[in-house]
Symmetry: C2
Subunit: 402 residues, 2 copies
Amino acid sequence: MSLIVCKFGGSSVATPERVMNVAGIVTDMYKSGKDVVVALSAQGKTTDNLITKAHEINPAASKREMDVLLSAGEQISVSLLAMAIEKLGYPVVSLLGWQAGFRTDSNYSRARIKRIDTDRLQAELAKRSIVIVAGFQGINKYDDVTTLGRGGSDTSAVALAAALRADSCKIFTDVDGVYTADPRTVKGAVKLSEITYDEMLELATLGAKVLHNRSVEMAKKYNVEIEVLSSLERKPGTIVKEVAKVEKMFIKGVAGDEKIARISIIGVKDTPGIAFKIFSKIAAKKINVDIILQSVGRDGTKDITFTVPQEQSGDAVVTLEEMLGSIGGQRVMCDTNVSKVSVVGAGMETHPGVAAKMFEALYGADINIQMISTSEIKISVLIDSEDTARALQVVHDAFILE
Amino acid sequence: MSLIVCKFGGSSVATPERVMNVAGIVTDMYKSGKDVVVALSAQGKTTDNLITKAHEINPAASKREMDVLLSAGEQISVSLLAMAIEKLGYPVVSLLGWQAGFRTDSNYSRARIKRIDTDRLQAELAKRSIVIVAGFQGINKYDDVTTLGRGGSDTSAVALAAALRADSCKIFTDVDGVYTADPRTVKGAVKLSEITYDEMLELATLGAKVLHNRSVEMAKKYNVEIEVLSSLERKPGTIVKEVAKVEKMFIKGVAGDEKIARISIIGVKDTPGIAFKIFSKIAAKKINVDIILQSVGRDGTKDITFTVPQEQSGDAVVTLEEMLGSIGGQRVMCDTNVSKVSVVGAGMETHPGVAAKMFEALYGADINIQMISTSEIKISVLIDSEDTARALQVVHDAFILE
């Protein structure tokens, strides 16, 4: 029997009508003779509302209790979807994380899946039940509830597809696929029919927000082919896989990220070990560093600049100011009015001139580049955040519309 | 170490302020050197809101899925109370029904507790944690979530007290004890310091709504002494136990129940087996019959009248109308404008004249008695529902104010 694992996000089940819509999609797959397992998120704003409830009582609540609280959100949505499928007359059962065998580590609020004990899942599938699994949640070795963090339901779906050796993993969302740029801000953005895991990872990291990168990493590791498609329109989406069709258009996407900050330490001693000291301290605080730029030493001092997620910039500044004495720096600067614009494409290393074309497009629009970072499949530049929309458009025009 | 099990109802944790208030009560007990286990209901209207959500999607949802849905309510409240106790700086852990070892039968929506596996509870108490247990819920032998039905959290608390051999079981509620009558409707109602299980059972059945009778039955079976007290005022409540202090006032309470219906079958054959046929059919439909009255046979026919909960009266009428042919009855009548007023007191059988005094009080107020039922500790009369408040007052005056 062919098995489909699919995932629906919170906006896909935000209202009773949308829950019924999802029930329709799921039962249509079932009617076509497939076994169906659904990983589900909490409805609409449920998680945010629960977080508000917690903060009213204790803004410093333990992560263990937060996970107990938040996992109630998927508990509500899975039972409601099961009821909707019952109404359509199909056999269905909802399973919470612990019932579906999701065993995780004990890193509350961002646990990692260690394994899925599939006995119960297999038994329900053997009964030909549609199985609705609470995404985002599991239990640890103490039998305590854990949650997987942001994007956890995508990861739940991919883990289910890998554990059950599903033939297909469909991630239903409120967009109908992966685009070459955000269609809401960039004119002429084109939907891709296929994209590789690596390209998708870069786009996810860059804020394309279609798939959480943890889920893509897991899909890559277990070679689970993902289809990203719309829960509102029934048409093909974008396939994410190891090797995508070779297309004339080797640049797969242009993405912007405004939620970053640029941090500089001015006038540190130009001696060995300084960068190590700085970034080991930053890493110990679990701050994610992206682009790093070090000025050429002059007068025995140099400047080190790097980017971090905006929400971690406060932490980063405090950490660096505490170190200033020991590294002999003069001062720490932080600029949050910056954004990163990137082009992504797996064929990039064999196509010279990509960087030049990108810089030319930005120059043509009179946009100043503050920092540059390149990898085998990506070129990123740091610019003023007020230029973001224009930069995305001109870079997209240069590559995609050629 | 002395152990207290306590229970708080939904209104006691309806708002963040009330959650903090409960956290204060619980930590005060803990500070006095006690081990504390709390059984908790869902907040305020949570359960009703979840039921509404389900009905919007499928009014005929399976009880299994309803139980998954509703048990999310206590999951939310236990984690919030744990966060409040964390804020006050005490060690605490919340446990869901399955984590606390509540094993039930598979009667979804009104499951019965079969046992509590106390290993986890004992381990948490050994760590000197305050333990917050989700009331109302458990799991069955298939590891599926079950709920205990109305009043389930009271039952959870008593079961915990029995399983853990607690020294005390305190049921905190929005009233400060058990009264001789509902103080909102009867002037001069007096709070009792003690009451027996049997008296409490009669009062609960009669709609005193302080404790659910399943919890009192369980307390009686395992000899768990219960104290009913207020979560808003800190003062002694009412103790429910096997033998209460002998008091001058042997009538413990006067209660009214307006949610009943009187059903009559007119002109059935006056032959043996008719009552058996009727009430075995009624019992098979799980309709609870209270007072039964059979007229003296005349002209070869008789009338049979009985009372049922108002919500079951429709079922009862349909069931009887289907039988009319086989029992030779003429017609079925149903009156929902009736109510039952009762006096309860364990000493009743040794105090002659209780019935006479009750009837005299009603006669003095010109209230007509339609039916009468007596037991060793209770006398009930059926009257017009519009007379209920007056009847409660005059009967209460006659016994309690004497």
